[in-house]
């Protein structure tokens, strides 16, 4: 070695130590300031084709968090939302979720992803043990399948099987009254489209055994043109058509089917029609399309629901979406659970959440419940009605019966080997 080291401490090292010391002494002050707020991480879709829904999720959360913070926050700690774009990609959703907890120090996750991303975030929650509320994934197995069950994950969204039971029984009643035996289906060709259509047809046939499916079409997701699908359905001459197309795909389909006068030749059941994103965009909305409620401020027909819809519109200059009420519900439940537990600790909130029933503008009877056994939301407003081309768009909604839903859901769980 030609280099020699001076014994003792160099000037540079001294300076470094002084710097480190300064940081160390300053840290407790920073830590104290952080303890006052609680960071809540939220991966959602803010770019790409589904950006509108992700944005409406963020809007609803911000609206509710402002109220909670004005009322004192979670057990005295102000909520600070950290919202990140996952671009709708599952691997990105998982990465963002992990980073929110590990790097940003978020203590709770609001997972506002579509189903594909939700399952990825679910695994992150399983791994990290952080309290996680899924707000948008409606895929039934996320909470119904015991293999997916973890004590720290909850869901505040609708569930596909609930929708199918209510939709199937509503359609069967009309099928019997009007003698609609020949049915066609037209749904997007991916997991959601296939599963939802399959479950819907199962319950339709269960309530109306005469029904026969004579034609199936599976257009691609985001397909620009549906002409060949429209004409194929016209050739099959069904008496009724079911579709779970949604968003821009549904509005394209309606515009293209309209000029073939399809809607005057059959009864159409489109579960995703009664959402403001679709209702306000279609220029020539046909009268009499049957649809499930997504979010509509006139159903439940209560002043609370109308006021919530109007407050959202006043703040963001557009109506809320299905994803909006689901995300708002997550914050409402969090606030109540934290009050009940008198704590902002994830584990204590999770304990309080199980079986928690709260007042809600979106409840079928003015309340919604976080069911303890599978940690998913029940009791929310669910029903079907027919459209008119102007507000209130769906004037009469026929409510689904939660007693029937619970019975058939239990049966469905058994048939799937979930219970």
């Amino acid at each position: 070695m030609t280099r020699t080291r001076k014994p003792g401490v160099s000037r540079r090292a001294t300076l470094a130590m002084m710097g480190a010391g300064a940081v160390t002494f300053a840290t407790p002050w920073v830590a104290r300031a952080q303890a006052k707020t609680i960071k809540v991480g939220m991966p959602t879709i803010l770019s790409g084709r589904v950006a509108q829904l992700g944005t409406s999720s963020r809007n609803a959360v911000v609206l509710e968090v402002e109220k909670v913070n004005a009322a004192g926050g979670l057990a005295g700690r102000q909520i600070e939302m950290v919202i990140r774009d996952s671009k709708g990609q599952p691997q990105e959703a998982a990465r963002v979720a992990r980073e929110l907890v590990n790097t940003d120090g978020c203590e709770i996750l609001i997972d506002a992803e579509a189903s594909s991303g939700a399952f990825a975030v679910h695994e992150v929650a399983r791994d990290l043990g952080v309290l996680c509320i899924h707000t948008n994934s409606e895929t039934s197995s996320l909470t119904a399948d015991p293999k997916q069950h973890i004590p720290n994950a909850f869901r505040t969204a609708r569930q596909g099987v609930h929708d199918s039971i209510v939709g199937g029984s509503y359609a069967a009643a009309i099928a019997k009254a009007k003698g609609l035996k020949k049915w066609a289906t037209c749904s997007p060709d991916y997991a959601y489209g296939r599963d939802t259509t399959g479950e819907y047809v199962t319950y339709l046939k269960r309530f109306a055994p005469d029904v026969e499916i004579i034609s199936e079409s599976w257009p691609k997701l985001f397909q620009p043109d549906y002409t060949e699908v429209v004409t194929k359905i016209l050739q099959a001459k069904p008496q009724a058509l079911y579709s779970c197309l949604w968003g821009g795909d549904l509005t394209s389909y309606i515009d293209q089917a309209n000029i073939y006068a399809l809607f005057s030749q059959m009864e159409v059941f489109a579960v995703n029609m009664a959402d403001y994103t679709a209702l306000t965009v279609v220029k020539n909305l046909p009268k009499g399309i049957h649809s499930g409620n997504r979010y509509i401020k006139t159903y439940p027909a209560t002043t609370e629901n109308a006021a919530w819809g109007d407050a959202y519109k006043a703040k963001y200059n557009e109506y809320p979406t299905n994803w909006s009420w689901e995300n708002a519900t997550a914050i409402m439940l969090l606030a109540e659970a934290s009050k009940k537990a008198n704590s902002a600790d994830g584990k204590k909130i999770a304990e309080a959440l199980r079986g928690l029933k709260i007042k809600s503008p979106f409840g079928a009877d003015g309340t919604v419940t976080m069911r303890a056994e599978d940690q998913t939301l029940v009791g929310y407003a669910i029903g079907w009605g027919t459209t008119i081309p102007q507000e209130p768009y769906v004037p009469q909604v026929q409510a689904g019966d939660w007693k029937t839903i619970f019975e058939l859901e239990a049966e469905w769980k058994k048939s799937k080997g979930y219970a």
């Binding site: 509108q52 060949e228 515009d255 073939y260 965009v281 220029k283």
Partner: protein, 303 residues
């Protein structure tokens, strides 16, 4: 459900009603595709660049038409704005950016085009917002469909097919019979010689690019009343246009027409006979053409 439904297909071929409906449906899909693909093939034929951002012109055509329709309420003006707006955009894009990468290698051209795909999508998002939009069918076309030999034909689609066929005829005759057409064909063969004869090749290149953009814009404008408008809507149309040009032959206008109509018919009759394999059928056909005639069906012809 079976992947094959031959009964449905033969049943349809035997009935005039079904035949008329499905054939017009194939024409509608095909003719809109033709308008996009022909611009692509024209630009390649003359400028020797593959315009990967061509889908954006289709998108802008639709948005321009929707805005013009909302402002004026005139359908004709909406179509005009869709076509003229994208022509200007094409000219600016070619003179400002594409003309700088003519000598560069394909990768460079591809990167420039891809960058503009992203930029154009974001521009649309900034101006019109990220949510999907709908232009709505003009009142004049909100009428009951026509019944021809028992088949259903919407009047709007007759207009659409008519406009696209007229565009094809004007383009074909214009290139074959007019002086400008001759100059364009000459520039495609030997731009050096054309420029030595005192003809402004830059102007011709810009003009051809504007024409290609205008045709795609016209397709977007014609599609606007029936398809939803979103940023990124040009992408799937671009993919299908590439299939069309591969089948028809890069650089051939007749090839683009035949290729587009073939794709339209495959979609419309394939959805009856091969409901689970309609997309696959399109690609399968492309592969067969590529293997048996790598230059495409009409690849030897020069635009």
């Amino acid at each position: 459900m079976l992947p094959l439904d031959i009964d449905a297909l033969t049943g349809c071929l035997a009935s005039s009603a079904c035949l008329v409906t499905q054939t017009t449906s194939g024409f509608i899909i095909g003719m809109l595709l033709f308008l996009v693909a022909v611009g692509l093939t024209l630009i390649f034929g003359v400028l020797k660049v593959v315009n990967f951002s061509h889908g954006a012109f289709y998108m802008f055509g639709a948005y321009f038409a929707m805005t013009a329709y909302q402002l004026t309420g005139s359908f004709a003006l909406a179509m005009l704005c869709g076509a003229a707006g994208t022509a200007i955009l094409g000219l600016v894009f070619e003179r400002g950016f594409m003309s700088r990468v003519y000598g560069a290698d394909v990768l460079m051209q591809l990167l420039v085009c891809y960058a503009f795909v992203l930029i154009f999508d974001d521009v649309v998002r900034m101006i019109w917002g990220p949510e999907f939009k709908s232009m709505g069918m003009p009142a004049a076309f909100q009428v009951a469909p026509l019944f021809i030999a028992g088949g259903v034909v919407p009047p709007y689609y007759l207009l659409l097919i008519g406009v696209a066929l007229a565009a094809a005829a004007i383009l074909g005759l214009g290139l074959a019979r007019t002086r400008i057409g001759k100059v364009i064909r000459a520039a495609a063969h030997n731009p050096g010689m054309v420029s030595a004869l005192g003809i402004n090749t830059g102007l011709i290149y810009g003009g051809v690019f504007a024409l290609g953009g205008m045709l795609a814009g016209l397709a977007g404008a014609l599609a606007a009343p029936v398809r939803s408008l979103t940023p990124g809507m040009g992408f799937s149309v671009l993919i299908e246009s590439f299939i069309v040009t591969v089948i028809g032959g890069m650089g051939s206008i007749l090839g683009a027409l035949i290729g587009a109509l073939l794709i339209g018919m495959i979609r419309s009759f394939g959805s009856l006979g091969f409901p689970l394999f309609t997309e696959g059928l399109m690609y399968l056909f492309m592969v067969i053409v590529l293997v048996s005639r790598p230059t495409g069906l009409f690849g030897k012809e020069v635009a």
